[in-house]
């Protein structure tokens, strides 16, 4: 049973944003494969209710030039949805197809892009790429609105190949040029200047008169290609299958080197990448099938705590864990900024390369923010999630220092910590001796403090 819980906790940290012990127990009873099934086919459970959110926060309807408002709308989804893998895939694609609100200055279009990831993110990758090519935020972000028949702009054409599908080293400069030509005329309507308080809505528009109808030669194929033809060719490339496999591995399984190094550094687990890539191709680019293979594989199940949590995972995971942050509630604007303070400003990645992940999330400022934020949250014993932990401990009666430490580590994970660090926690617990419940307030404070020490651990920074 303990092993079932540990495995389920691992799955939910990766395929979702963590879960309370109550949820883990229920899911463990339901079974691992059944849980994977539900995560992959979430239609039976509820997503977040955007309209409830907007009823309480009407100013978030079409957020315009205020940064943070788009991120708050998304945070509401991440905190409230029961379709956690669907939402995790939104985060995944946001990190891969990194689009920066800073350049758009139009947060509503960022929210629309995120909604598109929610709709297509677990579906067919080819369809997703087509949607991405037509996504107004992306078109503006990578200047495809400036890509004309007689004045080719290669920004989108290049990044489609380099960062969104195949990876550098798998195509020539001529391919970039031809790819860009095929996407001429794919633009946005209402690309007119801002009004006094924001921008007008953007819509995808195909202008045949601005499309280059000439013959193109792309990756060995020749024809009068349009954008969708390019996407067909791109999807069929073995490099694309491996690129997506590597991204999935880095996001869901264990750290890989940063993307720019992929052309020279082989994967950490070549067999895993082969399996995922093969599934991708054989299924006809169905993300759902690739994810099923991933989550049911041994390489996934054995990769516990092999990744540093991203700031979004810290923020959402902690808030879902301590509970009491179901929105609509005031303060969501400030909460959504916390991920930025930890180094991941949602909807505003630093560049089209996205964020550097793994150890690069950490510097002295961001680490302090992570620890302080998590400690403030778990130290508040009035939060429902923390109360639930206190109740479980109280049900066990008096606790010796070692029992208190092990119970807290178990309920916060179960978290596996280095022997010396466990000893430090035990020594700390020993200072006040056996935990008794005679003084309930004091006992709760002691638990809260122990949880604060646990979230300060280096081990807690791993997912």
């Amino acid at each position: 049973m303990a092993e079932d819980i540990a495995l389920m906790a691992h799955l939910m940290r990766r395929a979702g944003f963590g879960a309370t012990r109550e949820e883990l127990e229920a899911r463990a009873a339901q079974g691992y494969d059944a849980t994977v099934d539900e995560l992959l086919n979430p239609e039976t459970v509820d997503g977040a209710d955007r309209y409830e959110f907007l009823r309480y926060h009407p100013s978030f309807w079409k957020p315009i030039t205020s940064p943070g408002m788009g991120a708050s709308a998304w945070l509401h989804s991440m905190l409230n949805t029961e379709r956690v893998l669907e939402e995790k895939m939104v985060l995944f694609w946001h990190q891969v197809f990194a689009t920066g609100g800073s350049k758009l200055d139009h947060w509503h279009e960022m929210v629309t892009q995120v909604d598109m990831f929610r709709q297509y993110g677990m579906g067919n990758y080819r369809e997703l790429l087509v949607e991405l090519s037509k996504n107004p935020a992306m078109i503006f972000w990578l200047d495809n609105c400036d890509n004309h028949e007689y004045a080719v702009n290669e920004n989108w054409g290049r990044e489609l190949l380099e960062l969104f599908s195949m990876g550098v080293g798998n195509y020539t400069e001529d391919d970039v040029r031809e790819c860009s030509r095929a996407f001429t005329g794919w633009t946005i309507a209402a690309s007119i200047p801002r009004n006094a308080h924001g921008r007008y809505d953007w819509e995808f528009e195909y202008l045949p008169e601005d499309h280059d109808e000439g013959e193109k030669t792309f990756l060995g194929h020749t024809g009068n290609f349009n954008g969708e033809d390019i996407i067909d060719i791109v999807c069929a490339q073995p490099a694309t299958a491996r690129f997506i496999a590597r991204h999935l591995y880095n996001f869901f399984v264990a750290e890989e080197p940063q993307v720019p190094a992929w052309s020279v550094t082989p994967p950490n687990d070549p067999e895993a990448i082969d399996l995922l890539a093969r599934t991708f191709t054989e299924s006809g680019y169905e993300m759902r099938e690739v994810l099923r293979v991933l989550f049911t594989s041994d390489f996934f199940k054995n990769a516990r705590y092999a990744k540093i949590k991203s700031p979004a995972e810290v923020l959402v995971g902690t808030l879902r864990f301590v509970g009491g942050y179901k929105f609509p509630a005031p303060g969501i604007g400030n909460l959504s900024k916390e991920a930025g303070y930890m180094g991941q400003e949602l909807l505003n990645p630093p560049s089209v390369e996205g964020w550097h992940t793994g150890a690069e999330w950490i510097n002295s400022g961001t680490l302090m923010k992570r620890i302080n934020f998590s400690a403030d949250m778990v130290g508040d014993t009035t939060r429902p999630g923390i109360q639930a932990i206190v109740n479980r401990l109280r049900a066990r009666g008096d606790l010796e220092p070692e029992e208190l430490v092990d119970a807290c580590l178990d309920l916060m994970g179960p978290l596996v910590v280095d022997g010396d660090n466990r000893k430090q926690l035990v020594n700390h617990a020993r200072e006040l001796g056996t935990l008794t419940w005679a003084d309930d307030v004091q006992a709760r404070d002691r638990v809260g403090e122990m949880l604060q020490l646990v979230v300060s651990l280096r081990e807690y920074q791993y997912a």
Binding site: E449, L453, S456
Partner: protein, 375 residues
Amino acid sequence: MTSNKKDPVLVVLQLSGGNDYMNTVIPYTDPLYRDNRPAVGIADEDIIRINDELGFHPSLRVMEEMFNQGNLAIVHGVGYPDSPRSHFRSMDIWHTCEPDKLGTEGWLGLATREIDPHKENVVTTVSMGPSMFRAVSVAGVPVAAVDSLDSYGLLTGISSQEQRLKILDRFSQMYTPTIGTGAVMEYLGETGLEAMKGADILKVAPGMYSSTVEYADNPIARKLKDIARIHLADLGTRIFYCDYGSFDSHANQPGMHAGLWNDVCAGVSDFFADLKEHDADDNVIMIMFSEFGRRVHDNGSGTDHGAAGAAFALGTPVKGGFYGEYPSRKAEDLQQGDLVPNLDFRGFYSTVLEDWLGLDSKPIVKGEFEKPKFL
């Protein structure tokens, strides 16, 4: 060899949101100023006259004093070609010196690495705010991000000081890197200790500080007071970064713009008075900039995003005066209704990097640009 020469210190005050250049340094004798500013123009009798062409906004009395003392340089027409007129993109450009592509390395992060290549002092650069400004952020360069000096530190949510110190003691033991735990665990350990060390160094500053200067009660004055306290504690901090705003005055500009400059000027005045009281002003300069200026013609209530702006350098070591030329307000000289920059901001930075911090500016600003000689 010992030297009594104090290290130069740079304070950056970023005017976030797009400060209205034309209502800050006002070309009051130009009839085009009146023509273009029917709604937000400053009344003639309120303008603080600097010379027979230019005057300050009435909230800039402090700047007038500094200018008359020769301690304020006003740099005209600062910007870069093809201003995108987006706050965030523009700010990125100012922060990374990359107008043509998306940069990720901040110019002062790179400067920090040059100043302290062996990371000997984790508070060489202090960023005042809840998150680090991109201008100071470069991977592997430690920078302290201080929201408020009095509450800065690890686990500050723990209210009992005694308990907190005990927990911090545990923390430092739990973060001591142990061999064989893997590169990432070791890195986390070092970084955690670095964070604690930075907080430890900075926490002495409030206790060492005493001053007769009472700072104005506004957010930027509080930040500048924190900067003064850290500077006066002599902790080796060379670069401070802070911001104030938002100067994004699309609507109701007159009251808003005046209020912001009142706050900035009160803070700046207190800050320099404080440094002078402690004889600690001779190695400090402050620079101010905004991501862009605003549209020449007002919109009936405020002004929209523009292009060229003014940058300022303040402090005892600064050679006061005007630098560069005020861009033409003539309709035929405007681009999309905006003043056209005639001095690249990277030249302004180059002056600061080379003639103040003593660094080679070329690798930091990525090129060679005309330097206004205000130092």
